[in-house]
Amino acid sequence: MADPNWQGGHYYGKKPPTKGLSVARMVGHITYLSDEAMQEKFGRRLREIHDYSFTFSADFEVESYLRHQGLSFTNRFDANTYLYITRALDYFDVSRRHTSLIDAFRDVTARFLVLAFSSDWLHPPYQLKEIVSALRATHKHVSYYEVESHYGHDAFLA
């Protein structure tokens, strides 16, 4: 949205807000990883150079990786779509029209298996355990399993 090309969303047929979308994706991408995974994958490794260039160019491998992820994303994704989807995620709150999470699940009849990845920043185990607790409060059939992984949210791809 900070990209002037965004034009309040009316950029179709004009220059799309590639820079804004690309930065948004770079930020997003970090949340799919984990501290440990990033350390292992990049650390402070430099990219095809032997010393710092002392400029703002992508000296570090992690920078060039994120820039690539951001830029390539703009070739396959629309900025407004990204905004709407992330906004829908922000607004999603299963307990909003209920007095509590327990109340929200009260009429559920399904059996639950809640799977957590230990290093997931987006769906951290403690939040998934809240779901488990809420379900258990009304004696729903629920199992919880925590997969030990240092791949963060992306663990589901690993």
């Binding site: 298996l113 355990k129 488990v132 607790s133 409060a137 199992s143 919880y144 399993y145």
Partner: protein, 82 residues
Amino acid sequence: MRRIDYKLIEDMVPAGSTVLDLACGDGELLSQLIAEKQVRGSGVEISKEAVEACVAKGLSVFHGDLDAGLADFATVRMTSSS
């Protein structure tokens, strides 16, 4: 073959009660209690393989470390005492 200690425990559990099996292992006792005593049962287990065995049996099981406390079970206590 049925374990004798499980049979003894089964005799002590009133039918239809609510059972939380701490360190439930592969869920053998729980399944037995559900089948024989129609209990409402769930378990807590730290071992990955054992949790998988419980889920395979269709049990409600929580993968966790008892040394970390039972705070996640606070809501159960509240509702079952009411």
